[in-house]
Amino acid sequence: MNRRPLVSPDLVVGLALIAVGVGVVSAISGLPAGTVSDPLGPRGFPTLLAFVVILLGLVLVALAVLSAIGLVPGAALKPDWQGDADSQGALSVGRLIGGIVASAAYVVLLQPAGYLISTAAYLAVLVALQGGVPRLPFIATVFGFPLSLFILFALVLGVPMPAGFVEGLIFREAP
């Protein structure tokens, strides 16, 4: 029977679930308990869910330990099949972190910088991060896509997109 190392993803995940459950119980403990008219009260349902999560975490930890000592077969950590069935390459941590940081910066700067400028900058960073895009598609995407989205949301759907301080300075009407 195949053994797995003790510190396996399932063990880590199991401990994380236990931590989440304990965290939920702790966060909800300040709320009032149930009353006669509402026996569960506001903390009953989340507490129940938290205990189920702790139980599931204990099951995962137990399976990980039993698998490490060879008492149960180690289940392969199969990739989630929900995503694209196309074969994907190995993990690029730089791209992942870069993508997350760029997205966070985009969300923060969306209102102060304005929609068009922040979206164009965001796309430029993302496309450059991934690389391999020739100049013409790069320019078309960075400038054309934000404009298309702006037309769709602001003009067609009537959603007021943020003008921002920077765009306000650039596109300010002449007195």
Binding site: P39, L49, G83, D84, L96, I100, T119, Q130, P137, L149
Partner: protein, 507 residues
């Protein structure tokens, strides 16, 4: 009922309705055709746009996306062996082989027409089942509704990935997300940590976009795929004639039956198409042709692919329990427009539901001309560089979530749950189960607490009412099924190995 159905169909024949369905079909087909963008993602990305529409029109738009995405996924699957959606993977084997034989147009045509037949049949079943189920559900009180949500959650959780434990944990995570914000009964804040932005909880649409679109695009950015292979873009859809359709009728019927059963069970997606392929091969008169360019090998999975969608709507519309991610998004659209899904949906909003049925029928008919016309555009987009696709979808995701409430908080929520969704996927958890848990959570806590109020705090109420008790027992069986199956097969193999040990006296 026929009158109501006709009324629903007629209500879709407005300029706005037709436009919404055509746009939805186009968007869904393109979304489905783009590898890395699934049907639920295409639907979730459109949800913010439906906010300003009336409920009926937004449901017609989503019906179009729903129908279009099912066909769209088969375009790259057939042309370049790259499924646009996971459900289309089963038609690669024969579809791409037909392309090599110069029959690309015919393969696309069979996929299109058989898919529409499958979709049509499942909608007939949907209409036939949802009304009696909805009527039966009138007898449901809070304990039964709660038990139904538990059953729905366990079905999805156990079928949404390789690990039952992780599937259930994913569903529970979704339920926990709905407890953030003001408690619906006492009005007290929960898990807000003093932040006013969290008083109204997490936006369901923002979380959906985060889980479905942002996490998938982060995954694609972090795991760069190979370039798409080139293919001949001078392909036009060639609709099958009656003789060709007759040649695949058995596979089409098998695909419909398999898709309908799997859709109701909630397994959906790739399960229905691969099972349909296997069964069509088993019952075919020419099974040796499967894998070498058999039209039946395209017809069966594509029919199943479409027919499981309609049947997945049966529990969603009749009982408020979605059995697929796409069904959950339909319910989310209702919630977005202030309509509470659940057993009383049919009674309180029957005209809306029948209008949606009418839209589903009509989009299956309109899919054929739209599919033919939009093929050229899809073929151009299929070879869009993954870097541009991922970047574009991310920008659209954050734009759409901002547009919900003109607040960057929702965009931040989409990003946070995109990262969480990526982590969940990496560790084998199911974002679809989490989304379904979130959709169910809006109903579940309220019904649970009302049940406890009815019984003055005693949980016996769930075990003394037959329907509620029966549903909870079913839920327990569903959860224990994989373990029972493993135990059974272990016992069976031990028995078999004992039987093959030679008797030392007789040899």
């Amino acid at each position: 009922m026929l009158e109501q159905l006709l009324g629903g169909l007629l209500s879709t024949l407005s300029v706005g309705g037709l436009l919404a369905m055509l746009l939805g079909l186009a968007w869904g087909t393109i979304g489905g055709a783009l590898p890395g963008v699934s049907g639920p993602q295409a639907m979730a990305l459109l949800l913010p746009l439906t906010f300003g529409m009336d409920t009926g029109t937004s449901l017609m738009l989503l019906a179009g996306v729903w129908t279009g995405a099912n066909y769209g996924g088969s375009i790259p699957a057939i042309l370049i062996r790259t499924p646009g959606t996971a459900s289309s993977a089963a038609c690669i084997m024969d579809g791409n082989e037909l392309v090599r034989q110069g029959l690309a147009g015919k393969a696309l045509g069979v996929s299109l027409v058989c898919g529409c037949i499958g979709g049509f049949l499942s909608i007939v079943l949907l209409v036939a089942l949802v009304i009696p189920l909805g009527t039966a559900a009138l007898a449901f009180a809070s304990p039964e509704i709660f038990a139904m949500t538990i059953f729905g959650l366990t079905v999805i959780s156990t079928l949404s990935g390789p690990s039952v434990v992780k599937g259930i944990a994913s569903g529970i995570f979704g339920l926990l997300l709905t407890t953030v914000g003001l408690d619906q009964i006492s009005g007290l804040p929960r898990f807000t940590f003093g932040r006013t932005e969290l008083l109204s909880g997490f936006s369901l649409v923002a979380v959906m976009i985060g889980f479905f679109a942002v996490s998938e695009m982060l995954y694609q950015m972090a795991h760069p795929a190979a370039e798409r292979p080139a293919f001949d873009r001078k392909v036009n859809t060639a609709l099958p004639n009656l003789r060709e359709l007759a040649a695949v009728w058995r596979a089409t019927m098998i695909g419909s039956i398999v898709g309908i059963i799997v859709g109701i069970a909630g397994a959906g997606g790739p399960v229905s198409s691969f099972v349909a392929y296997a069964e069509a091969k088993r019952w075919s008169k020419r099974p040796e042709l499967f894998g070498k360019g058999s039209m039946e090998g395209v017809a069966a999975p594509e029919t199943a692919n479409n027919s499981d969608q309609g049947s997945a709507l049966v529990p969603a519309l009749a009982l408020g329990v979605p059995s697929s991610a796409s069904a959950a998004i339909i319910l989310a659209a209702l919630i977005l427009h202030g309509i509470q899904p659940g057993p009383f949906l049919m009674q309180r909003h029957s005209e809306l539901v029948f209008s949606f049925f009418g839209a589903l029928f009509l989009t299956n008919v309109l899919m054929i001309p739209v599919g033919i016309v939009i093929l050229r555009l899809c073929m151009e987009l299929v070879v869009v560089r993954p870097a541009l696709l991922a970047s574009g979808v991310l920008a659209l995701s954050f734009t759409g979530t901002y547009a919900l409430n003109l607040s960057v908080t929702d965009s931040a929520v989409a990003l946070v749950f995109g990262v969480i969704g990526y982590a969940m996927r990496s560790f084998g958890f199911s974002t679809a189960a989490a989304v379904l848990g979130m959709v169910l959570g809006f109903i579940m806590e309220g019904e649970f607490r009302r049940s406890m109020m009815m019984s003055y705090g005693s949980p016996d109420i769930f075990f003394t009412r037959p329907i509620a008790a029966g549903l909870l027992v079913l839920a327990l069986l569903v959860v224990s099924r994989p373990m029972l199956a493993r135990t059974w097969s272990g016992l069976a193999s031990r028995r078999a190995s004992r039987g093959t040990i030679a008797d030392p006296e007789t040899g």
